[in-house]
């Protein structure tokens, strides 16, 4: 079936559409990353870990001198505090870690000497009335940074590459890697997108097709249900549903063992809320299409020859509406990713770990201070994926449904 489709006219039309092919490649790349994350490429702990000073700009961008000096001072301060607890020095020093960076395994005296040297330079530097405007102080700042760097154990080649990758897009306010958080969020987004879109299209198609196919009261109930649901403004419904499930704890027993799921802390409320609103689109479309297909001769012939109704539904109608499901899947995928951002901002979405929504809502405070790396990174990560899906949807609509407005 797939092979046949690849040789068909619509496939040729699709592949002639160059942007669509690019979009497909982009989506595959995102999927690959999502799978890699799922297999442990990036763990949630890593995204929550402090890897350096806060609000470090990406691409090794230069910061204001003042901030550089302060970042050094913070490290000096932490090491100094640890050194003041000789009873469990090892443990105290071990706690100081920035991602892969660990405090160097040197005798405490050496460390103390480094720290003291550092403070000396620091004291000189803070004497200056305006650090930022004085380029003559730059060598001193660099020296301070070098000193601070010596406190840490040198990284192997591979490790320093990894560290550079993590710092590539800078750090957020808590010094966490924006890169890792952005990449991890790909998984979250794709998970939310795929699950919601899949369930919604499934429910919508089944309900839509049965409504049209069986007619009568089934049709009335389905129409009533979707008119009703679509008469509540979408976000209000989302919010109310998310509210209804927040804090809920589901208790059931599995194989005799009692299990309780703290639903409020999972993504389940998000899925329920999104699916409850998203199935309407595919349902309408599939219902319309089924009504059309039902009139076709071969379907009527099949009905006349007495095939089971369900058989006809599955055999003739659903395959003929498959392209519409595909288009709707793609549309809903976009919708889910974008809704996640809004729900997360309202505190009703992702609860643990990063997501683009979490990143964007957290970046509000940074933007006021003129730091755009986090919002920029999350937006670009999201833009590329959503854009790819938009282009893909357009191409699919062009190929399968040219009269679509």
């Amino acid at each position: 079936m797939t092979v046949r489709w690849l040789q068909s006219r619509s496939a040729r039309k699709f592949f002639r559409h160059r942007p669509a092919v690019v979009a497909l490649v982009v989506i595959s790349l995102y999927l690959a990353v999502a799978v890699a994350v799922l297999l442990g490429g990036v763990t949630m702990e890593q995204t929550l870990e402090r890897i350096g000073p806060g609000n470090l700009p990406g691409f090794q961008g230069r910061q204001l001198a003042e901030k550089r000096v302060e970042d050094c001072a913070m490290v000096l301060d932490r090491v100094e505090k640890a050194l003041k607890r000789p009873s469990n020095l090892r443990a105290a020093l071990g706690e100081i870690r920035y991602g892969l960076l660990r405090v160097a395994d040197r005798p405490p005296e050496e460390l103390r000497a480094l720290v003291d040297q550092g403070w000396e330079i620091y004291d000189e530097l803070v004497e200056s009335p305006d650090l930022n405007a004085d380029p003559s102080l730059l060598p001193q700042i660099e020296q301070l940074e070098r000193l601070t760097g010596q406190l840490f154990a040198p990284l192997s080649g591979w490790q320093s590459l990894v560290r550079q990758f993590r710092l590539l897009l800078g750090t957020d306010r808590q010094g966490r890697s924006i890169m890792l958080r952005g990449v991890y969020s790909i998984k979250v987004a794709i998970q939310i997108g795929v699950i919601t879109a899949f369930i919604s299209v499934l429910i919508g198609s089944l309900l839509g097709a049965s409504a049209a196919f069986f007619g009568g009261w089934v049709d009335h109930v389905v129409i009533w249900l979707y008119t009703t649901l679509s008469s509540i403004p979408y976000l209000v419904l989302l919010v109310v549903l998310a509210y209804a499930f927040s804090g809920a704890v589901w208790q059931f027993s599995l194989l005799g063992r009692p299990l309780s799921v703290d639903v409020g802390n999972t993504l389940i409320p998000v899925y329920v809320a999104l699916c409850a609103t998203f199935w309407i689109g595919p349902c309408r479309v599939i219902r319309g299409e089924t009504l059309k297909i039902k009139q076709l001769e071969y379907v009527q012939a099949a009905t006349a020859t007495g095939f089971g109704r369900l058989y006809i539904l599955v055999r003739h109608i659903l395959p003929n509406a498959a392209h519409l499901m595909l288009i709707n899947f793609s549309l809903l995928f976009i919708g889910a990713i974008k809704s996640e951002v809004i729900l997360s901002f309202l505190g009703l979405g992702v609860k643990r770990g990063p997501s683009w929504g979490i990143m964007i809502s957290h970046s509000a405070q940074e933007v006021i201070n003129g730091f755009f790396w986090q919002i920029g990174a999350a937006t670009v990560f999201m833009l590329v994926l959503v854009l790819a899906f938009n282009v893909l949807t357009d191409a699919l609509q062009d190929v399968f449904d040219p009269k679509h407005l």
Binding site: W224, T228, S231, P233, L235, V236, Y243, F245, I368, L405
Partner: protein
Amino acid sequence: MWVYIIRRLAYNVPVYLGIILLVMAALRVNDPIYGFLGKNASREQYDRFAAATGLDQPFLVQYVRFLGDIARLDFTTESWDQPGISVGQLLSTAIMPSLALTVPALLLTTLISISVGMISAYYRGRLPDRLLVLLAVLGMSVSFLVYIILGQYFGAFWLNRWLGYELFAIAGYKPGLIHWPRYCLLPVMISVIVAMGYDTRFYRAAMVEETGKDYIVTARAKGAGQAKLMFVHMLKNAMIPIITRVMITIPLLITGSILLEMYFNIPGMGRRLILAINAKDFPVVQTFTAVFAAVFIVTNILTDVLYALVDPRVRLS
């Protein structure tokens, strides 16, 4: 015409009954009283609260009572979170700020998007059109929240620093027309920009669809000029998809205004609803949802009436 309006009204009654039913049921999935009092509330506390709020009654009784309240526009139920204040009081203070955002946003979005859509359709296939389509697709792919955050930064912080005085307030709200531009114009502009991404594409498609119609060729054959074709012949025909689109835009704007109200601290209905949800303030959530749905249904009926006004085929059938 009146018959038509009454028919539309009658059609929407079961829909509204259904909305209330679904909303009420959904809000009871997770016990609202435990939600409010906390999981560790004692049995007596619970029972007393339930009796006081009428939540101990059977669902059907509650349903009928609530419907009765809505039908009589009786919003005297007390808020849980702010004892002594009725839902109606909250509602009446929240309506104006919300309208001050959504109504101008709707008007501006529609006007601007139609114009841009028409420009795009006019230059169809040429550079301005391609540029506009590209911008629209890009614009659609960015989250609303990003627009809000950046809009606030550049529209308020940055602009104010650059101008040296406060043109737009960073957040907040004051009633009155003189204060409107200061507090509401920036949020309205943000929501217009966001909605434009979706709408211009649609209006362009609607106009392009019209260009190919036989009656447009007829009109050209009569000697009609491009402007006459676009603004008279095509626009009036495109009114039907346009009205449909406006109807689709309304819930989007409501969504948008909820976010904008939250972000810009505007005490409208959306902000109230979200605050109530965070405070587990059950009666406010229930009533506000019902009101949102009612507003929405009324706009639906209005659109149907507009259809009939624009299209003689609907009116006379």
